[in-house]
């Protein structure tokens, strides 16, 4: 019997030790906003100088499917569960919190700009981090040929349906591995506000020129933030590259 047990034991140990893992390992690393500061840009012949540009970003959810829509992506593969106010005029990187998730391919993302409509909330709400209760608050001066107007833009990007993100899906091409050290988020406020018809404002001489919910210029900015010029996401392995 003792001999039997002696021969049995090694097999048991081998058997107990040869189990394989169960799917993707979990990972976490910092998320950063890394765009270069935007203080001034030109739209047609109008020069826009920004005095204030703050954007609320988050939370963001990342999916393995091509669509990050809530109806097609029940389970995320990664997420940034924080709302951060990004001062676009500031120098350097802005921490957005921690990306937590699993290793694997990421093909889409969905996210809010500080205004969310989580289940089971009855209506969309602005988070405390949203500047002035809006997704983005931008102030500045538009100038053309010695004429200038001040402008004030409060942009609200709200989810259309309960349980969805304000940006239901954005394409992402990336792979998260255990070597991934950070995720870099970039967006360009200048490209968003290039949709505003500053020339018309200058022609009308409105001062200040207000861009708010319901205005055509407001919707044009929202379309750029959501669809045509959404943020980009890059997963970086090892040491992050030096900022340009």
């Amino acid at each position: 019997m003792r001999c039997l047990l002696r021969s049995f034991l090694p097999f048991v140990l081998v058997l107990a030790g040869c189990g394989t893992g169960t799917g993707q390992p979990d990972v976490s690393f910092p998320a950063l906003f890394v765009s270069a500061p935007t203080n001034e840009f030109v739209v047609d012949d109008v020069t826009v100088t920004l005095d204030e540009a703050r954007v609320a970003f988050g939370p963001a959810y990342f999916c393995a499917s091509a669509s990050g829509s809530a109806t097609l992506c029940d389970a995320a593969v990664g997420e940034i569960r924080r709302v951060t106010t990004i001062d676009v005029l500031g120098e350097g990187e802005t921490p957005l919190g921690t990306y937590a998730g699993f290793a694997g391919d990421v093909r889409s993302a969905s996210y809010d700009y500080g205004i969310h409509w989580f289940l089971p909330e009855q209506e969309a709400q602005a988070s405390p981090e949203a500047p002035g209760g809006h997704s983005a608050r931008v102030r500045g001066v538009a100038s053309r040929a010695g004429t200038s107007v001040r402008f004030e833009a409060d942009i609200d990007v709200a989810p259309l349906f309960r349980g969805q993100r304000a940006v239901p899906t954005t394409k992402v091409e990336g792979t998260v591995t255990e070597a991934t050290s950070r995720i870099e988020v970039r967006f360009d406020v200048a490209s968003w506000f290039s949709a505003v018809d500053f020339a018309a404002a200058l022609d009308m001489g409105a001062d200040p020129f207000v861009v708010g919910p319901g205005a055509r210029d407001h919707d044009a900015v929202v379309i750029r933030m959501v669809s045509t010029h959404p943020p980009s996401f890059a997963f970086v392995e090892g040491e992050a590259p030096a900022a340009p």
Partner: protein
């Protein structure tokens, strides 16, 4: 005290020499009948119970003998016991009470168990008795010192010694088969078969025969093991079977969750459960899980033994026998009326009454139970349940033996649901509590089941056997469970979302069926080859109404409809099972089984029209499907040594599909399993120890796993399990029983479903360890029962026992791992005369463990920003629970 002990401890019957007899293991050395019946072996005692010298007769110093005529059934139980020679009423009663609890290895003819009548003398002596004299040829083990029985003094009666004048003389006449029953070669000290006038030693079988072993993983659990630890429910009896683990994460009204040898059988999908070999408990296409089997319909006190066949090696095993099969044998050993009242932790109250009329078969009894509890935690685990079981075995003309069974059970319970691990770790909710959310606190379940059966058996004098059984069952189920909090969106009205994922499931199943089998006599093809064939068939039909909705608490308003279906199914199975005996040392059993299954599905929510599309048709999808599954099975037994038996077995089993997952005309894709095993059983009789070692592999064509979002099982692809099982059982002392088992398994997922647009990041990848399945399961049961003195003239019988379970860390999806589990249950009792007090403790060391762990996405609004990552969830296992018991044996 010592004087008193010695007086009556030797005043009971015969145990000493009998206990030394060889138990049923190939029966190579069983006592032989004399010449003329060379192929007949006599019953031998496997378990005995001491008779108690009537305390009120001690003062009189009566020395007397009682002789009991005992019918030993083919399954080794005592079917009938009558006083042949009276020693006085009190002594007669004591002898009858004891012998009815004995267990025998049955008599055999040509190796086939037969019913036999034997005479068992009980000698009651007020003083210590001389040592037992053992006749030649009988086992010679020394009896335990505390054996309360002793044979009459003097040398054993020689084989040809005429019986005393007051005993019937053995009949020497030739019975109906021309064989001459002869007086048997045994002395008075041992039970000996006596051919009573007109009563040959071999008479017709009564009761269900004990089926032969089908491999090394064919385990039989008797009451000695089952009584070791508290068994609050019948499902808990299974914990003592190697590789089994049972838990109840969804409350008392939802079927237990079962793990066996690397299979997550969930609520029964991979294990065929039957009662008495006739009534199937698994419910096909149940909305809460395929093969749903709620064992609460059985009262644990009425389970006499459990046969657990791990693997698929027996052609009798049918649908759902994937990991194995379990058959509950119902019977009550102790005759009379027994009522037990229990009260304890969490305001738990339980009352059970068992009526087992004296003089009837152990299979004749009635039992009823009611139980209420507030449950642990903060008031969301209360439950109420009750049940009844009645059985009656009786004889019919034509040598037919009949058994009628009726059971009914109902329960309703609140359900605490699951908790996120991160919420527990951050103390947002206590481990044993439930979320304060309205939807979480609206979880409940209710279930009923009523079942009845009639079975008939007839055994011919040539060892052929015919049996037939009819059964019917009606089971209802309704649960409201919320696993995921607030993540769901209505599929019918997509703008309805976030109203709580309270999934309501209902399932009404009316089923009936029949089984029949015929076993031929044993043919002798050659001097070294004998053969026997069994042919059988069974059928069952079900009509199932099922629905699944989403409800908004607390008004339970329906805000989405997911399932509304009627399913009608018919399964017909047939098998041929052969036995080939190659001399005494090798046997080959096996045959072929085939099952046909047919479905008619009225899926009233099928072909759903998405909300954004124009209506083009009426919603609904009616379809039919049918299929056949084949299952060859074989077991080879070889006895290289009298104490060693080697096994090799192969079998193919199957599980019927969930009907609603079938398409029109689909040939019912059964999940098929290939089981292989090789093993050995070693029996060391001197210490009454048996050891079993098994290596096995099972390959399953597709497995199922729990999907929390839908609250049901979904396919996850083919799986493979390879493992080892070691099982040791010993009862070296009278009243002492110990068993330990260890199961090691490596269960892997071979080919999980690929990602889909709906599920782009499935939690399963190829080659990963199968989630939720513990790789190592260790179980030990120890019990000891002893009479240790008297109190006010009555003997005191004490019992103590425990059962301990260890589960190694269980793999979870997404590379996570559940914590190990170690739980000990213990039981103590003290009986004097008709009163017994006891205390049962489950989770004796108050270990804080998770009954089950899941990984999925949930949102319980415990953080400002929800997480959509799959997260670990647990349902808490019960903390220390103590129940005090008061039992009256009347």
């Amino acid at each position: 005290m010592r004087f008193v002990l010695s007086r009556w401890s030797h005043a009971v019957a015969l145990a000493a020499a009998l206990l030394a007899t060889r138990p049923a293991f190939a029966q190579p050395e069983a006592p032989k009948a004399p010449a003329g019946q060379a192929n007949v072996t006599l019953p031998t005692v496997v378990e005995h119970v001491d008779a108690v010298y009537p305390p009120d007769k001690l003062a009189q110093g009566i020395d007397t003998t009682v002789e009991v005529l005992v019918t030993v059934e083919r399954n080794g139980t005592v079917g009938d016991a009558q006083i042949a020679v009276s020693g006085g009423e009190a002594f007669d009663d004591a002898a009858l009470a004891a012998v009815r609890r004995w267990r025998f290895s049955p008599a055999t003819r040509d190796g086939v168990p037969i019913r036999a009548r034997i005479r068992v003398p009980f000698h009651f002596a007020p003083e210590p008795h001389p040592p037992v004299a053992v006749p030649p040829g009988a086992p010679t083990d020394t009896p335990p010192p505390d054996a309360g029985a002793a044979p009459p003094p003097g040398p054993p009666a020689p084989a040809d010694k005429p019986p005393p004048a007051d005993k019937p003389r053995p009949d020497k006449h030739t019975h109906s088969h021309g064989e001459q029953p002869a007086e048997l070669d045994s002395g008075l000290a041992l039970p000996h078969a006596v051919a009573e006038p007109g009563k040959p030693i071999e008479i017709h079988v009564q009761g269900r025969p004990n089926p032969p072993r089908r491999g090394a993983s064919d385990f039989r659990l008797g009451r000695a093991v089952l009584d070791s630890a508290p068994r609050p429910t019948t499902a808990d009896l299974l914990k003592s079977a190697p590789g089994f683990h049972v838990m109840r994460p969804e409350g008392d009204a939802v079927a237990q969750r079962v793990y066996l040898r690397g299979f997550d059988a969930d609520h029964g999908q991979d294990i065929q459960f039957t009662v008495g070999g006739t009534i199937p408990i698994n419910q096909p296409s149940h909305v809460h899980g395929q093969g749903y089997a709620d064992l609460n319909v059985l009262i644990p006190e009425t389970v006499r033994s459990v046969r657990v066949l791990e693997g698929v090696y027996d052609p009798h095993q049918g649908d759902f026998a994937v990991a194995g099969s379990v058959d509950f044998d119902l019977g009550v050993e102790e005759r009379g009326v027994r009522a037990t009242a229990s009260y304890g932790s969490f305001n738990t109250k339980r009352l059970v009454a068992v009526f087992a009329p004296a003089g009837q078969s152990e299979e004749t009894f009635g039992a009823a139970v009611v139980r209420t509890t507030d449950g642990f935690g903060d008031g969301v685990r209360g439950s109420l349940s009750g049940g009844f079981t009645g059985q009656y075995r009786f004889e019919l003309p034509g040598d037919l033996s009949a058994l009628v069974h009726l059971s009914a059970y109902g329960a309703r319970s609140s359900v605490a649901g699951v908790l996120r691990r991160d919420d527990i770790d951050r103390r947002r909710v206590d481990f044993y509590d439930a979320y304060p959310d309205t939807s979480a606190r609206s979880q409940s379940a209710a279930a009923t089941r009523t079942q009845a059966s009639v079975s008939l058996q007839r055994t011919g004098d040539d060892n052929s056997e015919a049996s037939f059984g009819l059964w019917g069952a009606y089971a209802t189920y309704r649960s409201r469970l919320n696993f995921t909090g607030y993540t769901q969106r209505s599929r019918l009205r997509p703008t309805w979302a976030g109203r709580g994922d309270l999934i309501e499931q209902s399932n009404d199943d009316g089923g009936f069926g029949a089984r029949a089998s015929y076993r031929t006599r044993r043919y002798e093809a050659a001097s070294w080859l004998k053969a026997q064939l069994t042919l059988g068939a069974d059928a069952e039909a079900h009509s199932i109404e099922q629905a699944q909705n989403l409800l908004e608490a607390p008004q339970n308003e329906t805000w989405d409809r997911r399932v509304d279906a009627t399913i009608r199914s018919l399964r017909i199975g047939a098998f041929a099972d052969a036995l080939f005996t190659f001399s005494r040392w090798a046997r080959l059993r096996g045959g072929l089984r085939a099952d046909l299954i047919s479905f008619d599905i009225d899926d009233r929510l099928g072909n759903q029209i998405p909300a954004f599309r124009e209506e083009t048709h009426f919603v609904g999808y009616r379809r039919t499907a049918a299929g056949i599954a084949w299952g060859p099975r074989a077991t080879l037994e070889v006895d290289p040594l009298p104490s060693l038996r080697l096994f090799a077995a192969y079998g193919r089993g199957y599980r019927s599909p969930q009907a609603r997952q079938l398409e029109e005309g689909e040939q019912a894709p059964f999940a098929t399993v290939h089981s292989y095993e090789a093993g050995a059983r070693f029996q060391y009789e001197r210490a009454r120890l048996s050891a079993t070692l098994v290596a096995y592999e099972t390959r399953l064509s597709y497995d199922l796993a729990f999907d929390a979002e839908e609250g049901r099982l979904e396919r996850i692809g083919p799986t493979t399990r390879r493992g080892l099982v070691a099982y040791l059982q010993a009862n070296p002392l009278s009243g002492f029983n110990a068993s330990i088992s260890a199961t090691f398994v490596r269960a892997t997922l071979d080919s999980p479903p690929p990602p889909t647009p709906e599920n782009p990041s499935p939690p399963y990848v190829e080659g990963q360890s199968l989630p939720f399945v513990p790789p190592v399961v260790v179980r030990t049961d120890v019990s000891y029962r002893k009479t240790f003195g008297t109190f006010l003239g009555k003997p005191l019988v004490a019992r103590a026992g425990y059962g301990a379970t260890f589960l190694s860390p269980r793999p979870l999806p997404y590379a996570q791992e559940a914590r190990p589990v170690f739980v000990v249950d213990a039981s103590l009792g003290l009986r004097r005369d008709f009163v017994e007090i006891g205390v049962d403790a489950t989770n004796l060391f108050n270990a804080r463990y998770a009954d089950t762990e899941y990984v999925f996405v949930s949102d319980w609004r415990t953080s400002d920003i929800p997480s959509y990552l799959p997260a670990r969830h647990i349902s808490a296992g019960s903390p220390l629970t103590i129940l005090g018991n008061l039992t009256f044996h009347l």
